[in-house]
C-alpha cells in the first residue's frame, strides 16, 4: 500500500529519556481516539514513523502519476483524455496535501524528496510496473485506486490530525478514480475481441501486484502492533487484503474476466474468498528497487526535479526581489 511499512526490522523502542507521564498522557489521548495536532507533545518514535509513512504516501502519489501519465497523450477519446488528465492531476494534489501534512512534523518537502531520489525513502511497489496498453489505465483505476481506497478510508480516523484531514480530502476524490477505471474495463471487456484480450491481459499482470500493495503478511510486519496502538494504522495488511479480494473478485466476474489465480475459491463457511500464495520474493525485490520499471520511474522523477531546479531558483529569486522592493517602499 502507499503507506505500508516496508521496513523488515522492528522500529527502535521509545527513547528512555522521554518522561513517562507525557508518554502516558499521549497514549491515553490516542486510545480515546483524539487527534494529535502539530504543536502537541508526541513521542519521537511516533513523529519519526509518521514522517516516514506520510512521506512514503506522498511519494507514492507523485511517482504514481508516471504510469498513468504515460497514456494521457494516447487516450482514445477527448472525454477519456480529460478524465485521465483530471485523475492524474488529482494524484499530484494528493501528493501536495500529504507533503504539507508531513511538513507539520518538522521535515521540509525538499528533504523528503531528496530521500526519495537517493533511494532512502520508499514508495508503493505497484508503480514499478509498466503500463503497456490502454487497458492498464482501466486496471489501475479499478484495482490500484480500489486498493488505495481500502487503505485510506480508515486513515481518515488516524490519530494525527493533519494526516487524517488530508485523507478526508483524498478520499473524496478516490471513488471517482476507481469508477473511471472500472468504466474503462467495462468498455473494453464488452468491446472487440482485441479489447477484451487487452483487458484480460491487464488483469493478469496487475492482479498479483495489487494484492502485494497491502504489504507483507501480518506475521512479517513487525511494526503493525505499534502502529495500530498509535492509530496510524487501523487494520492489518492481511485484513485489508482479504477485504480487497472479497470485493474485487465479483467485480471481475461481472466484467467476464478471469482472475489469474487457479486456487481462488469462495468459502461458504467463512464467507470469504480463499486465494493462492503471493510471490513474496517478487515483492521484496520490488521494495529493494528492482521492480520492472523502477529505474525508469526514478530516472523520470530525478530528471524532472533536476531540470526544474533553475525554475524553482528563479521563482525564489524573483520573490526575494519583490519582497525587497516592497520593504524599500515602506
Amino acid at each position: 500500500m502507499y503507506t505500508t511499512e516496508l521496513q523488515k526490522h522492528p522500529s527502535k523502542p521509545v527513547a528512555a529519556t522521554e518522561p513517562q507521564e507525557l508518554i502516558d498522557a499521549f497514549e491515553a489521548r490516542v486510545a480515546a481516539d483524539e487527534f494529535i495536532e502539530p504543536k502537541d507533545w508526541m513521542p519521537a518514535a511516533y513523529r519519526r514513523t509518521l514522517v516516514r509513512q506520510i512521506s512514503q504516501h506522498a511519494h507514492s502519489e507523485i511517482v504514481g502519476m508516471l504510469p498513468e501519465g504515460n497514456w494521457i497523450s494516447r487516450a482514445p477519446s477527448l472525454r477519456r483524455k480529460a478524465v485521465l488528465l483530471a485523475k492524474v492531476q488529482d494524484e499530484g494534489g494528493h501528493g501536495l496535501y500529504l507533503y504539507a501534512a508531513a511538513e507539520t512534523l518538522g521535515t521540509a518537502r525538499e528533504e523528503m524528496i531528496e530521500a526519495l531520489h537517493t533511494g532512502k525513502a520508499k514508495y508503493s511497489t505497484i508503480f514499478n510496473y509498466p503500463t503497456l496498453t490502454w487497458a492498464d489505465i482501466g486496471a489501475i483505476g479499478w484495482l490500484v485506486d480500489g486498493a488505495a481506497i481500502m487503505n485510506q478510508v480508515p486513515l481518515q480516523r488516524t490519530s494525527y490530525g493533519p494526516y487524517a484531514r488530508a485523507m478526508v480530502r483524498v478520499c473524496k476524490e478516490e471513488s471517482f478514480h476507481q469508477r473511471q477505471g472500472y468504466e474503462i474495463m467495462m468498455c473494453m471487456a464488452n468491446g472487440t475481441p482485441e479489447q477484451k484480450e487487452m483487458a484480460q491481459d491487464a488483469l493478469n499482470r496487475w492482479w498479483w501486484p495489487s494484492l502485494m500493495m497491502f504489504g507483507p503478511p501480518d506475521d512479517e510486519s513487525p511494526n503493525t502492533a505499534q502502529s495500530m496502538r498509535w492509530r496510524i494504522k487501523r487494520d492489518t495488511n492481511d485484513e485489508l487484503r482479504q477485504h480487497f479480494v472479497d470485493v474485487t473478485v465479483p467485480q471481475a466476474e461481472f466484467l467476464g474476466l478471469t482472475v489469474p489465480d487457479p486456487k481462488l475459491k469462495f468459502n461458504d463457511k467463512t464467507g470469504h474468498y480463499e486465494f493462492g500464495e503471493i510471490d513474496w520474493s517478487e515483492f521484496w525485490n520490488v521494495v529493494k528497487g528492482e521492480g520492472p520499471v523502477a529505474k525508469e520511474r526514478m530516472h523520470d522523477r530525478v530528471k524532472a526535479w533536476d531540470e526544474g531546479a533553475w525554475v524553482r531558483d528563479a521563482a525564489a529569486a524573483h520573490a526575494a526581489k519583490q519582497h525587497g522592493a516592497r520593504q524599500a517602499a515602506e
Binding site: L66, R80, L85, Q89, G92, A304, W310, R312, H318
Partner: protein, 261 residues
C-alpha cells in the same frame, strides 16, 4: 468563398466549419503538448497548473470540434475530427504544435497563445453566432487565468536569475516566427468577421503588442522586431512536429477503427 449571409446559416457552411476547426485545433494541439508535462514539471504546484490548463483546453476543443462537426453536417463529432484527420486537414496555428522545450519555452508559447486567445475570445463572446458566443464566454473565464498565469511566469523567469532570463529569451526566440500567423486574415477570417461571428484577427494586434510591451517591461526582457513570419498552419501545411504528435494522439482509434473506448 461563402458569403457573409450564408456564414450565419450554419448547416454545411464551409467557412464556419473551417473557422471552428482553427479554434478547436488550436486548443486541442496545445492541450496535447501541455499534457506531455504531466508528472514531469519543475514542482508539484506547476504540474497541477499545467494539467489544469491542458484540461481547460481539452474542454474547449471538445465543444468547438463537436460544433464544427454539426456545422459540417456529415455526422462527424469532436472525436471523429480529433482522431481521424491527418495533418493536412488540421487547421491549428504553428505556434501550438511547437515542442515544449524547457519550461521557459513552454511558457513563452503559452504566453503568446493565451494573450492572443484572450483578446480573440473577448470578441467571440459577443459573436452573432449564439452557440459560439456561449462556448467563448465559458472558455474566456479559463483563458483569463491562462493568460495571467503564463504572464506571471514570464515575469518571474525574466526577472529571476541570469540563467532563467537567458532561458526565457531563448524560449521566445524559438516562438517569435510564429506570432504573425496568429493575426493573419485570409478569406475565411474575412467572411467570418464580416458576418459578425468573430473579430478580424488583425484588429487584435495593437492590443496584443501593448500587452507584450507591458509584460516584457515587468520581466526586464528586451523586445526586438519579429523575424520573418512562418505561415501555413491554417491551410494544413504544418511543421514536422505535428505528424509525430498526431501519430501518438490518434494511435488507438486508428489501430482499432471499430472499437469504442
Amino acid at each position: 468563398m461563402t458569403t457573409a449571409s450564408s456564414s450565419t446559416g450554419h448547416r454545411s457552411d464551409p467557412a464556419l466549419f473551417d473557422y471552428l476547426l482553427r479554434l478547436g485545433d488550436d486548443s486541442l494541439i496545445l492541450a496535447q503538448r501541455l499534457s506531455e508535462w504531466c508528472g514531469h514539471a519543475p514542482m508539484i504546484e506547476v504540474d497541477l497548473s499545467i494539467s489544469n490548463v491542458a484540461l481547460d483546453l481539452v474542454g474547449q476543443a471538445t465543444l468547438l470540434l463537436d460544433y464544427a462537426g454539426e456545422v459540417e453536417g456529415k455526422g462527424r463529432d469532436g472525436d471523429k475530427l480529433a482522431f481521424h484527420r491527418d495533418a493536412l486537414r488540421f487547421r491549428n496555428c504553428l505556434l501550438v504544435e511547437q515542442p515544449n522545450g524547457d519550461f521557459g519555452q513552454t511558457m513563452a508559447r503559452q504566453y503568446l497563445f493565451s494573450t492572443c486567445q484572450r483578446l480573440l475570445f473577448r470578441g467571440l463572446a459577443q459573436s452573432t453566432d449564439a452557440r459560439l458566443a456561449g462556448i467563448a464566454a465559458k472558455a474566456l473565464k479559463e483563458i483569463e487565468y491562462h493568460a495571467d498565469w503564463s504572464a506571471e511566469w514570464v515575469v518571474r523567469l525574466g526577472d529571476g536569475t541570469p540563467e532563467s532570463r537567458e532561458r526565457m529569451i531563448n524560449g521566445f526566440a524559438w516562438m517569435w516566427r510564429f506570432v504573425d500567423e496568429l493575426f493573419q486574415v485570409d478569406e475565411i477570417d474575412a467572411a467570418i468577421a464580416k458576418a459578425g461571428i468573430a473579430p478580424a484577427r488583425d484588429s487584435l494586434r495593437a492590443a496584443f503588442n501593448a500587452e507584450l510591451k507591458k509584460t516584457f517591461e515587468a520581466a526586464t526582457l528586451p523586445l526586438a522586431p519579429l523575424p520573418a513570419a512562418i505561415l501555413g498552419g491554417r491551410k494544413g501545411h504544418h511543421s514536422e512536429h505535428l505528424g509525430h504528435l498526431l501519430a501518438a494522439m490518434q494511435f488507438l482509434p486508428r489501430a482499432y477503427p471499430g472499437a469504442t473506448w
